[in-house]
Symmetry: C2
Subunit: 235 residues, 2 copies
């Protein structure tokens, strides 16, 4: 296989969004006398709102709307349901940007540095460009560029995202390896000719996670984590 | 001024394209018995073909065509004029990609690292994304992402490039500082509300250069080089 570039799903695959956001919102709530709020439930519901919001864009019901704007709209809806009417504009904007400040899974920063010596690296995420820039700076993730659904005005798993990434990287889809902790993302990439690597993040959705615990058949590189992938690729 | 992000012209501003490409083509020619060719003249004519080629895209005479493809087409035209019919497909492709392998002006890599501690940094170049990725790796230029005319299907100085860069960076145009060694690029940026910094590169076009030796009036930061800019910005 002549892999030239690696592209990475971000939320769940490279960063632990759930633990990071629960910690930030709990601390935020404690400072404002909102410690009684079910912040774990809030965060799980917030993430659950992500797929239907994207679907409204993917089907054309909504015009192109970036992820910051989708996160902010779903935050406001949930704030009503969780009795957080008290929050003002600045506080809501601060909370919605918690997605810009997420911790990487432990092996990720050093493993990316290893992989980057041999391959061109970029995220390919549904997060918008500025979100991903902030995240890369916050979590110390070094990429060669940021690739985002926002560049194509299409969310994954629309084919324009995977094919657009390969085109901007200047290589054929078969020379691009898509890395994700989600089999569905990889099936979409594989159907367009990209290579695929799956690594499990069984804690991504918390203790009750039941999906994406192992690689589906047909994945080119089922690996334990990014270090294992670097080993497998000889990086 | 609340500057949050810096965007950089690349060819001439950050890298010394002329000396780099003349050196590469001379060495290439010497290896192939083509030492008699006027490589300096070839490179000057190659660069001179750049603006009219882009204009054909900007006016809509040509559909969107990225810079690699424009460089390759003008290389082939010049190869005929300079008696280089002997060159085959692989050699032509290799030469056209000389634009991916350019040396930075001496102060640039360390000054970018200084500026990046305080600001988000990206190129905003007419070079395509994969060209800029290769160049950043080759010349050790660290950016937070790559911004390119290719993302907007518009070449500078079309307004879509400057405004598109600010939008992807998630900041208003007035919070973006455009850095270039070319006053024309900066006037276009300033007319859209961006801040501007000019640094002279009097050797960019060789010993006979007569343009862009000093900053025009109205430039926000007329500086000596990127170190001077970092000093001025307190980075």
């Amino acid at each position: 296989m002549a892999i030239q570039a690696l592209i990475f799903d971000v939320f769940g695959t490279l960063v632990d969004w759930r633990t990071s956001i629960i910690a930030e919102l709990r601390a935020f709530g404690a400072e404002r006398g909102l410690a009684h709020v079910d912040w774990d439930g809030f965060v799980d519901d917030w993430r659950a709102a992500y797929v239907p919001a994207m679907e409204r864009v993917r089907t054309g019901e909504l015009p192109w709307t970036n992820l910051d704007a989708l996160h902010r709209a779903s935050f406001d809806e949930l704030a009503d349901r969780f009795g957080l009417h008290v929050l003002g504009e600045r506080e809501r904007a601060h909370c919605a940007f918690a997605w810009h400040r997420l911790r990487a899974w432990p092996e990720v920063p050093a493993a990316l540095d290893r992989l980057r010596r041999r391959y061109v690296l970029a995220p390919l995420s549904n997060g918008n460009v500025s979100l991903l820039i902030d995240l890369a700076r916050y979590a110390d993730l070094r990429f060669d560029t940021i690739l985002s659904a926002e560049l194509f005005h299409h969310y994954k798993p629309d084919p324009q995202t995977y094919l657009g990434a390969a085109e901007l990287l200047g290589v054929p889809p078969s020379d691009v390896l898509m890395v994700a902790a989600h089999n569905g993302d990889l099936h979409a990439a594989a159907s367009l000719g990209l290579k695929t690597a799956f690594l499990p993040r069984p804690g991504e959705y918390g203790p009750r996670q039941s999906n994406d615990l192992t690689a589906d058949t047909g994945i080119d590189y089922p690996v334990r984590d990014l270090d294992d992938l670097a080993d497998r690729l000889g990086a």
